[in-house]
Subunit: 290 residues, 2 copies
Amino acid sequence: MSGTLEKVSSTKSYEGDLIKYKFKSAALGGLDACFNLFLPANAASAKVPVLIYLAGLTCTEDNGAQKGNFLGPAAKEGIAILFADTSPRGAGIEGEDDDWDFGTGAGFYLDATNPKYALHYNMRTHIQFEIPQVLEIAGLPIDLTRMSIFGHSMGGHGALCTYLASKANQYRSVSAFAPISNPINAPWGQKAFVGYLQGGIHEAKEQYDATELISKHSDPVHILIDYGTGDYHYKAGQLLPENFLNAARKAGYNDVQVRVREQVGYDHSYYFISTFAEDHVQFHAEFLKA
Amino acid sequence: MSGTLEKVSSTKSYEGDLIKYKFKSAALGGLDACFNLFLPANAASAKVPVLIYLAGLTCTEDNGAQKGNFLGPAAKEGIAILFADTSPRGAGIEGEDDDWDFGTGAGFYLDATNPKYALHYNMRTHIQFEIPQVLEIAGLPIDLTRMSIFGHSMGGHGALCTYLASKANQYRSVSAFAPISNPINAPWGQKAFVGYLQGGIHEAKEQYDATELISKHSDPVHILIDYGTGDYHYKAGQLLPENFLNAARKAGYNDVQVRVREQVGYDHSYYFISTFAEDHVQFHAEFLKA
C-alpha cells in the first residue's frame, strides 16, 4: 500500500497552484516519490481533467514545470498537469548512478523484471496506477475519468507505450516531443531493456516499444508527435519517429488519428518543447473537455 | 576595448533563435562575459527593438531564458530579448565566492569604487554601454534606438536604476518583477553597497537606489512593477516597493506613468515571473514599437 500524500510546497502560478507532493511509493519499493501537480484556479470549485507529463533522461519532476511553458496554457484550458519523476531515487542498487542514461533519472517508464531492479524500478505501475490511486485517496479535485498523457524523449516513449498498453480508455489522448519511438532499435532503448528486463529486447518488444505496439493496435487513437530536424539525438538514430509513423500508417491510422510533425531546425531542448507546448495542451484539452 | 563576439551556441525557439554569445569584456576587467540574445524570426529581414533582461541573485544569463516565459511573447511582438549575466565570473578576488548575495552572481548592476572590486565589478557600464556597443560592432539586427529594460529582484533594482540614471531617453520603458526598490534601506542592498562602494550607503543613495532616484526625477517615465504578497523577501523587507511607489507619487507621477501592482499570493520565483511575463513584454512592446 502506498503512503499518504504529504505537501512539500505550494507556489502560486497563473492564478492556480503548483504543489509538490511526496509519498512512500509501494511501486518503487517503499522509497519516497515526488511529483508536482498544477491545479488551475477552477479546481477550487469543480474536479478538473488531468494531463500527465513524463520527462526525459536526467530530469526530475521539476524540469517540465519550470521550463515547459505548460502552466499558462493549462490555466487557460482549466486542466491540471501532473509532472512525475523519471526513476526511483536512492534505491542503493550497485551501479545505478554510474550512467546518465541508465538507472537514476532513467527509469524508462517500465516495470523491471531483472531481479536486481525489480523491487524499485517500476515506473510504469507508478505512473499508470499508483499516482492516480494516491490522488484519489487524497481527495484531490482531479477527475480521473478524464486523463491524458504526454512526455519528452524517454518520457515520450513512456507516454506512447503507457497509452497504447492501457485498457478501457484509461487515457483520452497522447502526445510526445521528440519521443524515443522505436527503442528496441535504438542504443538508449537497447541498453535500458537489456539492463532492466530479464527477457531483454524480446521482452521489450511485446510491451515497451511504441512502434511495435501501434503496429498491433486496432482501437481508435488520438496521437500527436513533434520532433525537430536539428535534434542531435534524432540525427543519431535514437528517436526513429519515421518508424512509428510508418507502422501507424500500415496499421490503418490516418493523419487525424496519428499526426507526426517534423519541425525544421528545432533541437531536443526545452526551447523546442516550450515552442509547441501550447499546441500540445490544446490538443489534449479537446479530448479532456469533450 | 571590448573583444569581438563569439557565438557559443544557437537554439531555435518560437521560430526565432536563442543565441549565446561570449566576448572579452573591458568593463569586467578583461574577463569573458556571456549573454543570450533571442532574435525573433522577423529579425532576418529588418532590425528589431530590444528588451534587456537583468536577472536576480545567484542567476546567470540562462535563468530568464529558460524559465521566464519571455520568448513566446517576444516572438509574437517581434522584439529581441537580451539576457545578461549578473556579475563578472572568475575575477579571483578573495572572498567573492563566499556568499550567495555578494560577489559572484550578485554584481548589483553597479560600478564598484572599492579598489578591491573596481577592476571587475562594473556591471552598470557592462549593461548600459558595453553590450549595446558590441551588438552594434557585430552588426546584429538590433535597433539600439529602440531599447527597453526589465529585471527581477536584484535585476529589477538594476533595471529601475539604470533606466532612471540614463540620459537622452536611452530606454523607452522599464519594468520589474519583485525589485529591490529601496536598497539603501534593505539588508541585501546595504551589504552590497558597503562592499562594492568606497562611499558605501551614501554613494549608493546618489546613484543606485530607485526610490531616491525617482524622488528627484522629473522627466516623463514609463514604469511597471509587479510584486507578490506571498514573497518571502517582500515580507522580510528586502523589496520595499511601497517606498518606491510613495516617492513616485510625491514626485508627481500618476498611475499611468508609474504602475505598481500587488499580486496576491505570488512568491519570488520564476513561477511568479512567468505568470506576468506576457504582460511585461506587451507593456514594453507598446513603447518599443510606437
